[in-house]
Amino acid sequence: MTDQSKAVDMRTRPLGETGHESTVMTFGAIALNWVEQEAANQMVEHVLDYGVTHFDVAPMYGDAELKLGPKLRQHREDIFLGCKTQEREYEGARRKLEQSLNRLGVETIDLYQVHGLEYDEELDTITGDGGALEAFRDAKDEGLIDHIGLTSHSRPQLILDAIDRIDDLESLMFPLNPVVVGKDDEEHDYEAVLARADEEGIGTLGIKAFADGPWPPTDELPETDRPFANWYQPVRSPGEIRERFDFAASQGLTSVVSAGDPKLVTMILEAAAQYDGMDEAAQRSLIEQSRHDDSPVPEQLHH
């Protein structure tokens, strides 16, 4: 167990060329949406006790921005704050940025990201005249944001195109876990994104590290009966959480974003605090495990 009486020295890595050292775990502040304000305050203190320096939030995460606000303002100097917008055009993006600054109650956001890029047309819009990135750049000139990033769980090729077309892109957030790494087709080749981002000096933030599979159809398990708030069924034991953290962190990402359900946060903090690399045989073991869980080929005696 981690000694709570002293600050933990969580490992850090440079977030691309931003000059910021992110901890190997980024706190996904959506977790605050599911708890009351007092518990949210405690959770932020808890996360900071582990030495986490990088937080990530978004306006679409219920009232997570509002709940993060008080402790964010108290510890503003200790937190590198990422936020994002799903708006693709100038006016909308500007409005959302101002709204987030307002709801968070801060003067600046350290990393402002295009949230959830999904289609080629969206890339055209954000990079074009009157697109969201113009608003980002103006905001950067005004000192409202420091760095520009992008998040996507869409096709890896779309993210590679975004790298080509956005010269001032400084961070990327995308899925990486053993299921994704075990698939060789282009639709899952986020390793190519990782490699390219490294070449270009772009920071990398991994999401879906703790995903175990989709939820059953809602006629089998209604949404209100799901035991976790995540978009997907998460792995849920400390051992599995640690394996998944170690796997994601050892792929070369700058930082692994914690899962969205508050019940998982402490386990992920513990895993991140203890992170000490993962050897390749153990990484392959996780890839093989998910490959067989998911395999269309019946009757396999071997690996």
């Binding site: 060789d184 045989a281 073991s285 890839i287 093989e288 019946p298 009757e299 071997h302």
Partner: protein
């Protein structure tokens, strides 16, 4: 198709491009796919199981003329002497009992050209604390009673290395492919099914109780990660 990382890790330091390769024990064609991906000029995928031959053809073929799936016994491979440059035995040896193993080693050596490369990937014996040992023990008991031979033998890496060294191969390297080995629900269910099918040929009511035990264990265990899968690389002395 996705080539398993165990296969890519075992092949990554071997010369495959432009070589004539033999996959000994084709299984579902995973290593065959890996060899073709790495540029093998020809892959002979040898298996004595018709369903594996069909699965390999169906998964890997994709119209290539570089693949020949041969349904044959590995103790008598339908290829001339000195005809392949690289041999893989990925998860093969554990299904060979000691006498079959020595015959297969001799036959693989016969078809290998001098200087041929060989990759042998297999499992160390499971550690004492691994619960899956009991399922494999039941599977072996049923196989032994039904056929007089075990279904599975997990040879330590050194044992397999010595087998091949005795036939003129020299060892290049050993690496760990999986540690721990993830024995998934899929694997354990398949091993239980194998045990049950051997149990049908067992005398009196012993078979019935072994079959029941195998099914019970697979259900009870679900999955377990235990043991080590290794990769040996050797070369035939020129």
């Amino acid at each position: 198709m996705d080539v398993p990382r165990t296969v890519t890790a075992a092949l990554e330091d071997r010369p495959v491009d432009g070589r004539r390769c033999l996959e000994a024990g084709a299984g579902v064609g995973n290593t065959t796919a890996g060899l073709l991906d790495r540029g093998a000029s020809r892959v002979y995928a040898v298996t004595d199981r018709r369903e594996d031959a069909q699965t390999t053809r169906c998964r890997v073929d994709r119209g290539t003329d570089r693949l020949a799936v041969l349904e044959a016994d590995l103790r008598s491979i339908p290829l001339p002497d000195d005809s392949v440059d690289l041999i893989t035995a990925h998860g093969l040896c554990n299904v060979l009992d000691p006498s079959a193993l020595s015959m297969v080693v001799a036959e693989l050596t016969r078809v290998a050209v001098p200087g041929c490369h060989l990759v042998v990937d297999d499992y160390d014996p499971l550690p004492a604390e691994a619960a899956v040992r009991e399922l494999f023990a039941v599977e072996n008991a049923a196989a032994n009673l039904a056929t007089g031979r075990p279904a599975l033998t997990f040879y330590p890496a050194t044992v397999l290395r010595h087998q091949f060294e005795g036939q003129g191969w020299t060892s290049d390297r050993e690496r760990t492919l999986l540690e721990p080995v993830p024995w998934t629900e899929n694997h354990l269910g398949t091993h239980a099914d194998t045990a049950v099918s051997f149990a049908r040929d067992c005398p009196d009511d012993l078979g019935e109780s072994l079959a029941e035990r195998a099914d019970g264990l697979a259900t009870e265990l679900g999955s377990e990660s235990a043991g080590r899968m290794y990769s040996l690389a050797l070369q035939l002395q020129a």
